[in-house]
Symmetry: C2
Subunit: 481 residues, 2 copies
C-alpha cells in the first residue's frame, strides 16, 4: 500500500504534500507506468484525511500528466516517456547564437554604468513617477473590465487595437487639435514597438533615415537593428536646423524624418508653430514621411500649448506616435500610431504577423482609465508635481553650477540638457566623476551618432522629489567645479 508521510501542521496543504510525493515517486520510477493507485476512499481512510483532499490531489496529478483514470477503472500511473539517452551534464553544442548579418548581430553591447554610492540621486530615470500612478483607478478599471467582458483576456485581440480604446484615443487626440478616425489609429505595445512597425513599413534595403542630433538613444539602437544609415541633423535653439534638413533630404532622399517637437529628448526644447509649419512644408514638398513622437504631449506645464504637427497635416505625410508611458503607465506597454488610413492598414498587417496585437486586458483597462473624467484630475495633479520639480531643478542649477555651464529651461516634460565647457573626449571623465559624486545622469553620447565636441548630460526630474533635487544640484555643482 502506498504511504505518503503527511505533516499536519505547517504551511503546505495536505493535498499538495500528496501531489508532491507522488510526483517524486513517479519521477524516481518507484511508481511505474500502469501501477494502480488506491481508490480515493481507501487512501483517505489509511491516511486519516478527508476524502475530498485525496480527490483534489488525484485531480491535480491528472492535470499534471502523472495519473490517468477512465470511468469504472482504477486510477493508474500514466506513462511519462523519458529517453534512454539523456546524458549527464551539458556539453557545448557548437551552435553559434551570434549569426553574422542577422538583425541581432547589429546591436551594440550595452555600456556598463559607472559606480555610484548607495544614496545616489536618480536624475537618469525617464519614466512616469510610479508613486504618482493612479493605482486605485487601475484596479477599479480592471474589475469593471473583467466583470463586463471575459473576452478581454480570453480572446485574441483585434490587431488594430480594441475599438473602445481607439475611440478614447481619438477623443484625446482631438483635445490636441488632431482629427483622427478610429481606423487611422493602430494600438501598439508601446512607442518602441510602434517605431519598429513603422521601420518595417518604410525602410527598404540600405535605408537612409534623418534624426535630430541629439536624439532618443533607443531610436538609434532600433535603427541599428534595422541596418539603417542614420543622418543626424543638429538641433538649433529653435529645433531641427531646417537648412541642413533641406540639404540632407535633397542629397539622401531619406525614408523618413524622426522628430520630437515637444520637450525633445534629451534637450527639452519645444519648437514653435512656425518651425512646425516649415518642417512640414519641406517634407510635404519632397514627399518624405515625418515620424512625430508626441511622447510628452500631455506634459505641457506652462506657456502656450503648441499643437502637434499632425494637427496641420492636411496632406497625410505625418505618422504621429502617442504613449501611455510618460503619463502614468509604462508597465502597461501601450502606445499608438495615428496614420493615414492606407498606412494604418499596412502597419496593422505587420502588427498582426509580428505580434498579433497588444494585450487585451491592458487595452481595456487603459480605455477605462483614459476615458474617465478622473484622468484629467490625475494629469493636473501630476503636472503640479512635475512643474515644481522642474522649477526646483532649474533654480538649483542656477545656484550651484559653475559659470560657463549652460542648460535648457523647458516648460514641460522631464528633462534638462547640460552643456559643459570641456575638451573633446572629456565627457567620459566628467560622467564618472558625477556618478561617483552620487548623481546618476545620462551621458550625452547616448543621444549622438558621433562623439560631440563638448560634454553633455541629460537630467530628468521624473523620479526625484524636490529635496533630493536640491541636494542633487549641490552635488553636481561640486562635481563640475
Amino acid at each position: 500500500m502506498l504511504l505518503v508521510p503527511i505533516a499536519r501542521e505547517g504551511p503546505v496543504p495536505i493535498y499538495r504534500q500528496i501531489v508532491e510525493r507522488i510526483v517524486e515517486l513517479v519521477d524516481q520510477a518507484t511508481l511505474a507506468p500502469g501501477a494502480r493507485l488506491p481508490p480515493t476512499r481507501e487512501f483517505a481512510r489509511v491516511h486519516a484525511v478527508h476524502r475530498a483532499t485525496v480527490v483534489r490531489a488525484y485531480r491535480d496529478l491528472r492535470a499534471l500528466g502523472y495519473l490517468e483514470s477512465r470511468p469504472g477503472a482504477y486510477t493508474t500511473v500514466r506513462g511519462r516517456l523519458r529517453p534512454a539517452g539523456v546524458r549527464a551534464g551539458t556539453v557545448a553544442s557548437g551552435v553559434r547564437w551570434s549569426v553574422p548579418g542577422s538583425a541581432a548581430a547589429r546591436l551594440a553591447a550595452d555600456e556598463a554604468v559607472p559606480p555610484a554610492p548607495g544614496d545616489a540621486i536618480d536624475f537618469a530615470s525617464h519614466a512616469a513617477d510610479p508613486t504618482l500612478a493612479p493605482r486605485r483607478e487601475v484596479w477599479r478599471a480592471a474589475r469593471r473590465v473583467l466583470a463586463a467582458d471575459r473576452s478581454v483576456v480570453a480572446s485574441y485581440p483585434d490587431p488594430r487595437g480594441l475599438p473602445e480604446l481607439r475611440a478614447v484615443i481619438a477623443r484625446r487626440m482631438a483635445v490636441h487639435g488632431v482629427a483622427a478616425d478610429p481606423d487611422e489609429i493602430v494600438v501598439t505595445n508601446g512607442t518602441q514597438q510602434a517605431l519598429d512597425l513603422i521601420f518595417r513599413m518604410l525602410l527598404g534595403p540600405r535605408p537612409d533615415v534623418v534624426v535630430e542630433s541629439p536624439t532618443y538613444g533607443m531610436v538609434l539602437a532600433l535603427l541599428r537593428l534595422h541596418g539603417a544609415r542614420v543622418h543626424p541633423v543638429p538641433m538649433a535653439a529653435d529645433g531641427l536646423d531646417l537648412d541642413r534638413l533641406r540639404d540632407v533630404i535633397a542629397r539622401k532622399r531619406p525614408a523618413l524624418v524622426y522628430t520630437m517637437p515637444n520637450f525633445h529628448n534629451p534637450t527639452g526644447l519645444t519648437t514653435s508653430q512656425a518651425h512646425r509649419e516649415a518642417l512640414l512644408a519641406i517634407c510635404e514638398a519632397r514627399r518624405v514621411p515625418i515620424v512625430e513622437d508626441g511622447f510628452d504631449e500631455e506634459l505641457k506645464y506652462s506657456g502656450p500649448a503648441v499643437l502637434p504637427i499632425k494637427s496641420i497635416d492636411a496632406r497625410g505625410v505625418v505618422l504621429y506616435l502617442g504613449t501611455l508611458s510618460k503619463v502614468a503607465f509604462p508597465g502597461l506597454r501601450l502606445g499608438w500610431i495615428v496614420a493615414p488610413a492606407e498606412a494604418a492598414a499596412r502597419l496593422t498587417a505587420v502588427q498582426r504577423v509580428s505580434a498579433l496585437g497588444a494585450s487585451g486586458l491592458g487595452q481595456a483597462v487603459a480605455a477605462e482609465v483614459l476615458g474617465s473624467s478622473r484622468f484629467e484630475a490625475h494629469l493636473r495633479a501630476a503636472h503640479r508635481v512635475y512643474r515644481h520639480r522642474l522649477q526646483t531643478l532649474v533654480a538649483g542649477l542656477e545656484e550651484h553650477l559653475p559659470a560657463g555651464v549652460r542648460f535648457t529651461r523647458p516648460e514641460g516634460g522631464y528633462t534638462v540638457w547640460l552643456s559643459v565647457p570641456g575638451r573633446p573626449g572629456e565627457e567620459r571623465v566628467l560622467f564618472e566623476r558625477i556618478w561617483r559624486a552620487g548623481v546618476k545622469v545620462v551621458a550625452g553620447r547616448t543621444f549622438h551618432v558621433r562623439p560631440t565636441r563638448v560634454p553633455h548630460f541629460r537630467l530628468s526630474i521624473a523620479w526625484v522629489d524636490e529635496e533630493r533635487i536640491r541636494e542633487g544640484c549641490r552635488r553636481l555643482g561640486r562635481a563640475l567645479r
Copy 2:
C-alpha cells in the same frame, strides 16, 4: 460676463458642460488667449451651481491646456497656437506607403473568407474557448497584484520578463521534464513575437529555414516578412520525414528547424519519444538549432505524456516556445522562450530594443494565476471539456464522412486534419462548398508553401460545444458527398 447654458437634468454632469462650452468658445476664438475668466466663486454664484463644480471644471480645463492660472492672479485662457495655413480638405500627399524591399512589402494580402450562413459552425477558431476562461481568478489576481505592488503598471518591465513570472514558468517547465533556470527564460508578447525575436537572432541575409509541411500558417507569413527561403519537409504518419530532413540540412545548412511535436498544427499528430531523439540527434550533429513550439504542451488529454525535445536537450540546441494562449489567456498576449543562457541574453537584447518588454500588469496577473493550485483544477476542467469535444468530433466524422476521406485522431489539442480524395486545385471549390453549407474550416493551402495534390481542411473544436460539433459533422458529410 461669461454665461454657460446649463442643463440641470440629463446625463452630462454640470462641470462637464462647463468644460465643453469653454473648449468650444476657445476653439472658435470667441474667448481669446489671455482673456480673463471670472473667479470660481463669482462664476458659481451667477450660474447658481456649487463652487466645487466650477473648481473642478477649471481644473480639467487647465489639464487640457485651455486655461492657465498663477497664484494670486486671474485664471486666463491659455494660448493654443493654431497654424495660419491649415488647408481645408485632404490632398493626397504622394507619399508611397508601400516601399519596395521593405519587410511590409513582402507580406501577402489576406485571403477573403467565403460567404457562410449566419448560423455557421466555427471549426476554424484555434484559441482557448473564452467561456472556459477562469475570469474570477484573473480578477482576484489583478486585485492582489495592484494592491501589493504599484510598480507593475507604473514602471518599465524587465525586458527578460518579471522575475516572479519566470520563476513560475520554470516550475511549470519542470512538470514537463525541462530543467530551466529563470535566466534561461525570456517572456514575450505571445508566441508570434517569440518567433520574431528568434528570427531576428538566427536569420542572416537570405536565410534558409526548414519547416514541417504542412505547418502553422502564421509562421509562414512571419518568415516571408523576414525574407526567408522556406524549405518544407513533409510530415509522415509519425512526424517530420527524417530522411528528407537529413538531406535538406546537408544541402541547405538551414538557420533553424521549426517543429511542433505535440498535436501538430494543423495535423494533430504527436511524435514518439524515439522520433524526438532522432530529430535532436540529427540537428545536434549538424549544429542546427531546433525551434520547438510547445503551444499544446498543457493539452495532453490521454495516452502517454511524451516529454518535450527540450527535456533531453543536454547540449543546448533547442529553443522551446511556451504560451498562455492555448490554455486560457490569448488576450494576455504572453508567451516565453526557454533557451541556453547565451541565446536568452541575445533574445533579451532584441526584445529590449524592439519592444522594451511585455506588459507588467499582464505578467503579474499571469504569475499569480499560473502559480496558484487552482490552475491545475482549471486545466483539468478544460481537459475534460476539450477531450469530450474531440471524441465527439472523431465519432461524428466516422459516422458522416463519405468513404475515402481520411482524418487524424489526436489525443490532445484542438485540431483534426482531413484529407479528401480529389483532383489538384479542387480544394478551393470544396472549401467554398463547405462554408456555404454552414461550416467554417481552414483550407489546407493556409498551411503549405506550395499547393498540395489533394484537398485538406483543418477542423478545430476550441469554440464549439458537442451539440454543434455533431451538427457540424452532419453538414460536412453532406457537403463532401
